[in-house]
């Protein structure tokens, strides 16, 4: 019984999966540079964002090209 009870085999704190952060990938509509930032509410793929400055050319219009949760091994 104690094997299924969770006492014996799973003693100690269980490695609980943390809520991973979703990343939004943007592409500048003026110079084409791609950059990323944490997901903000109601972002969606192919949304044109008009109030975020491009870190390369300073252009203000960019388009969201992807949104996903990076795999753990690749997150920096």
């Amino acid at each position: 019984m104690r094997y299924t009870e969770g006492g014996f085999m799973t003693w100690g704190p269980r490695p609980r999966e943390k809520m991973l952060q979703t990343i939004t990938f943007l592409k500048c509509l003026e110079c084409g540079a791609e950059n990323s930032r944490p997901f903000m509410e109601w972002d969606f793929i192919f949304k044109v964002v008009g109030n975020e400055k491009c870190p390369r050319c300073g252009g203000s219009r960019s388009r969201i090209v992807n949104i996903y949760v990076p795999e753990k091994k690749e997150s920096k």
Binding site: M1, G6, M19, T22, W42, F44, I45, I67, Y68, V69
Partner: protein, 385 residues
């Protein structure tokens, strides 16, 4: 007499110390005898003990389910308040909607059951969406759709919790170890699904793309070109006409970025019937359940219609394809049931480009230049515009 009896015992227990008093060993032997008698006269005693262990374990997991259920309910209420700004407390309405049910049509006479099912599901969806709209008067249309998904998740976890509680209480009431055993066996999976629901509720409360969005994402990426015509063909579903590798491609998908799966079956049917010539093939792209041990984001191909769910859309596409003798090709992106409803993983998102390449290759190999092809991206379009 008494002395004699204990002497016998002492002698029996420790013959070497014959005659010596040993109260402790007498007590221990009585306890042993008692336990032996209990097991002998009451054979189900061991089972009863096991049952109480199992019930305790179940109770703990049931409490976990309850806490997840309450958390999702709170997320739904908070999001509706934040996004929809109703001028009343939406809590009782959310509770009412999480008890909402849909009765499937009678299948004793299966004739025409697909259309009955479609009818019932459509009424259910529409009325659900309208109810949520009333709770969120200032939310945009796509947000209303996503909120509807969120309330549906609250309903799903509520149902799960109620069913598990039913079996727990029934097992407890009837002391039926076999009933308890069955629910206890599947409990770890149920808790896992509940956890997935919890993460799904977070995704829907913010409009994030989920794993199931991958089919729609592929279609969106495929039609991400200039010079295309876009129009609605069925409720929440659109067609985009474009040229690809010198072939005429009609891309069908749900209209985003609100959470909806659209009506891909109805859309493909309407589209094919309206085209001047028969398409050379219909390609469906959808997320599919992987088997344990397979990697997420793996792309596989085959024939048939890749659409999950109640089967109405699948049936409609098969019907029209059969009538007109159109080949059906399908691409499936593997993911687990948890990944399908939680925020999209990198491995799945990256699979979109793989599918795109495969679709292009299939087009150039199997369809001659100038040919017409229908591509349908299936899935929930939450977070895909």
């Amino acid at each position: 007499m008494e002395k004699g009896l204990s002497n016998v015992f002492t002698a029996f227990l420790s013959p070497s110390a014959a005659g010596g008093e040993n109260i402790l060993s007498i007590i221990i032997s009585f306890v042993w005898l008692l336990m032996f008698m209990v097991f002998f006269l009451y054979p189900s005693f061991g089972q009863r003990m096991q049952l109480s262990y199992m019930l305790r374990d179940l109770e703990r997991k049931l409490n976990k389910l309850k806490s997840i259920k309450d958390e999702i309910r709170q997320t739904a209420i908070d999001t509706i308040k934040k996004v929809g700004k109703p001028d009343f407390d939406p809590t009782p309405e959310v509770d009412r909607l999480s008890e909402f049910f849909v009765i499937p049509p009678e299948s004793m006479d299966p004739y025409g059951i697909v259309y009955k099912l479609e009818h019932i599901l459509e009424i259910g969806e529409l009325s659900y969406e309208n109810e949520v709209k009333k709770l969120a008067p200032i939310a945009e249309e796509h947000q209303v759709k996503t909120l509807t998904n969120l309330v549906e998740i609250a309903r799903g976890i509520n149902t799960l919790y109620r069913v598990v509680r039913h079996y727990y209480l029934l097992g407890k009431k009837t002391s039926n170890i076999y009933l308890v055993l069955q629910i206890q066996m599947i409990m770890p999976q149920l808790v896992e699904i509940a956890e997935a629901y919890r993460m799904a509720s977070v995704a829907f409360s913010q409009g994030q793309p989920i794993g199931d969005s991958i089919g729609v994402l592929v279609a969106a990426k495929l039609s991400d070109v200039e010079n295309k015509k876009r129009y609605t063909v069925a409720r929440d579903t659109m067609v985009e006409e474009l040229e690809l590798e010198n072939r005429k491609v009609y891309v069908v998908r749900a209209i985003g970025p609100g959470g909806t799966v659209g009506r891909p079956g109805e859309a493909v049917k309407n589209l094919v019937e309206s085209l001047p010539e028969n398409p050379k093939m219909i390609i469906t792209i959808d997320a599919g359940l992987k088997l344990e041990g397979e990697e997420s984001g793996k792309v596989v191909e085959g024939v048939g219609v890749a659409i999950g769910g109640p089967g109405v859309d699948k049936y409609k596409i098969e019907e029209v394809a059969k009538q007109r003798n159109i080949p059906l090709y399908a691409f499936v992106i593997f993911e687990s049931i948890q990944e399908a409803i939680t925020p999209m993983r990198e491995s799945i998102a990256k699979a979109a480009d793989v599918v795109l390449q495969k679709v292009r290759k299939l087009l150039t190999e199997k369809v001659e230049e100038g040919g017409v092809v229908v591509v349908a991206g299936i899935g929930n379009t939450v977070g895909v515009g």
